[in-house]
């Protein structure tokens, strides 16, 4: 019984068409399906029907995000485990979310709604099929051409509580964490894969619980991130922060807000964790600065306050 990987996120946007246009023509995502107020998308390197759902709403934010589990029976097994922990679990029938089989949704102490599922349609490339058989399709060479959905970063009122739940119930591994005071965990980075983080939970400076900090896409190298900065600036998209390198995760990043108001990270770099006995890297209060910005500009104040 295990979580396999981050599957997708459903973001709310007050400007659906502008958001779709941004993800499609600037970031270079592919649209795979539309239904009602929702548009399903994926990056060219994503294998599944969708890794992003944009849904029209009066305010931005994350409606839910989904994890693929390791086996069909894990969905129900996790449901029981989660219910045993006192959380309410909702069954979502196959097809409710396009391209997806039976799923469960639930809240957790971090505040966002998460989903678990196993069955999912594979993307059918059709004329976009690549002769490179291990690629889900030809790269679109449109916009920035981000390669794949990588991780999600959420805000919580109690980081320790939220990340402990992820460790205990869903089997996440704690990879790095930052203490902003001796007893206050300001952020935790966890994964079920060999990546440093599939999810990060950061303390919400406003005291809220359940907001999105950012959704992150992977680019193959740092030059691609710089090329993204070139294009975004000329297209008039404001780069909120970066380029720079985080100490935590070693990610080389830029951040921006998509037209709907949700924060997006474009990044490359980082490192892989294969050791079965990895000891979480603990950054203490006096290491905050370097842990957040190894080099590059200090993050703007807004970065620590604004979430959706």
């Amino acid at each position: 019984m295990r979580i396999a990987h981050l599957g997708h996120a459903e973001l709310r946007t007050p400007k659906l068409e502008e958001s779709v246009n941004f993800f499609k023509n600037v970031l270079g995502l592919e649209e795979t399906e539309r239904t009602g107020q929702s548009v399903y998308m994926r990056a060219w390197g994503d294998w599944e029907h969708h890794t992003l759902i944009l849904t029209e709403s009066d305010h931005p934010g994350v409606e839910h995000f989904g994890w693929r589990v390791g086996a069909p029976e894990d969905v129900e097994a996790f449901a029981k485990e989660i219910e045993a922990r006192g959380e309410k679990v909702t069954r979502v029938e196959a097809g409710t979310e396009k391209g997806q089989g039976d799923a469960i949704r639930f809240s957790y102490p971090g505040g966002q709604t998460m989903e678990l599922y196993y069955d999912v349609e594979k993307f059918q490339p059709g004329i976009k099929r690549s002769a490179l058989k291990n690629a889900p399709q030809k790269p679109p060479y449109r916009g920035l051409g981000v390669r794949r959905l990588d991780h999600i970063n959420v805000l919580s009122s109690d980081v320790t509580k939220a990340r402990t739940w992820l460790q205990e119930v869903l089997g996440f591994n704690l990879r790095e964490h930052l203490y902003v005071e001796d007893n206050v965990e300001g952020g935790s980075w966890l994964s079920v894969t060999s990546q440093v983080h599939d999810i990060a939970i950061m303390q919400d400076a406003t005291g809220q619980n359940g907001r999105l900090h950012h959704l992150a896409y992977w680019l193959d190298n740092r030059e691609d991130v710089l090329r993204a900065a070139d294009m975004l600036t000329d297209e008039g998209t404001i780069i909120e922060a970066g380029p720079g390198k985080h100490g935590i995760t070693q990610a080389f990043f830029i951040y921006l807000l998509e037209p709907g108001g949700n924060r997006i990270e474009l990044f490359s770099g980082g490192y892989q964790i294969f050791a079965p006995d990895w000891e979480p890297i603990k950054w203490s209060k006096d290491e905050i600065e370097k842990s957040i910005i190894w080099w590059g500009s200090p993050l703007p104040q807004e970065f620590f306050i604004y979430g959706t």
Copy 2:
């Protein structure tokens, strides 16, 4: 009970000092210990006491290579499983190999000697400690500065038999394979991590069983590989093949022979596999060319014949 990751390889070399000098000053590895005819080394991004042992011998080759298992008890559990499959298992006492706890060694149908272990000393950086706490040490900025040991590629007389054994006994996942004839598997790429391959097994054109094709080091991006080509050429090291990109694994590579005669790959790129239901990519006879060289020069004949 699981294999966690590739731990190290012990290479034989008829020119120990020349080999050590090459790995240290050209590739940029660190020497951690010497004992008898063996020198222990690691790349700056490797966390353990060693990931390479160079041992003086009258001919090159791979003495053994080791896998770290997921838990202490897995060593003995695997020993029983392997013995049940009819292979002889040798217990290697803690300390026999420096920095390493109790281990087992055995041969498998692929012909090479493999080792399983769990306990291993972590590298102690001392004055090389990086302020980047999630890095095992400061990069040496010496030579090419390869970041970490990545995978091993071995030659076998019967690829299907060897890779099936790895799947059935050690739990490896088959990621890609190539059929050179309708019923002849020319190569298989397998992993226990999210990497496309931790090990590859290719058909030995000479009919032998158990030789090494190459040991591969990871560099962070393609520009680093090109920089390596610049340096190697000026230092007089012959680049056997590349730069080019394999279809299988999507690796961007160069190959060379270290002074002892063993083939080394320097590479970046590739892709990650997170899907729990990954279906092995099967390249058929008529796709051989593109599967081997997606672009870049055809590999020299020697590449398909020479092994150690």
Copy 3:
């Protein structure tokens, strides 16, 4: 009286629309004007009305290529100098070639037709205007997005004679040359700018005079060239040679044939020459191999024979 820089080339193509489509959608050029059987194009980093003219013809090749001179009066001054050297000079009235003022055309010992001109329309970006005021337009982020026309490489039956004429009459500086026999110059690389070559002249192995070897476009870095290889291969364009690095010029290259049959080089790297007393680098017979391929695959035989 001086040549300022390479201005443009007019290539003949038997497949005009296919060629235009390739330069536009694969290489990422911009179309600026059409007239009769000719299409005018430029790269996004080129400042002038056009740097390439594609003209329909029954066979590929270079109709002419043009140099911008340093001052308006240089056109006529060069005309007199060239006539004094015994070459026939044709006056081309302003507007005959779109966007261009009065020009002269003439043949020279290398066999191709060259053009000199000063007046030329600047490209007017309109809605493509970049906020980056020192860029002629926004990058299109379409296809490979090659940045600018860089140099031309032509074939001649007598390299020494051709390059000497360029030095003596047009004031070119010899930067590097290669002797394939003690007394036979196999290639010369010359420039009027600080680049290693604005033009190269190579010996035509077939004994002809006046053919084109290739036209070269600049990309900002080596990663862009590798990205080009990725895209071209997936689009089905055969990469004739590379990636690799020439010893001569230090260029990191790939070569391909556009649909009309003309060879195109995509490259980055090289070096700048600022010294007023630069002594031409002379590569001798026994240095041929390294001078041509510093590293990367040997060039195919066709590379030394095929020209247009």
Copy 4:
């Protein structure tokens, strides 16, 4: 009569050995000669005896910087021209500065001391000779391995006056300039080569005349600059600003202070100017922000005040 290129700079440092160590082991320069309180150095891609002189002094700053002229007779011809403009010219005998022939020194309205010379010893690589005949030596692969001295940026109390003098007397071309008020030129970027700038003159916010803002070294691509940021940070060197991209010059940069206190820029990118009729790019008051930082962090206040 022309200036060919920037030849070298003599920097004063209160910490000679620390500065030498920094330029040598961090930036990767080569030491070529020592005499009295001065150490002569060059980058591996520089062809001459030296491009930097570090001279012990009680305070940092630029003692002088030198330009190579186009022909031997230009030294004296410029001397007469400069004297005619009312500046005092000092003859510096061959050998006074090591490796250099007869030179002249003089001040100009910008306040710094400049030098003109033609004769200079070429660097003799000896065992560092590269098989790449068009490279002055093998890359050292030590530290950052900056490739060559690129430009100098100085502070002046009257930018317009200083740059006009450079244009009128030394024949510099104005490439870009920035007006901080309608009638106040805040900075000018000029060159004699096809580079955007061989020298930049910026307004000294403190009203002084003659200080150094920074000396800049070229790296071959943006990835090299990021790699520099990685190394510098781990070595404990504070990156004063960047990485980021200037609008003016399109340079991708980082800035730092060497141990003696002088500011150094490491950069790549930019663009080439070949047009004989280049019209200086004029950035106006309301374009200041984008002209200075196209993207990347705002420059710290110190950047606009601190000079040596």
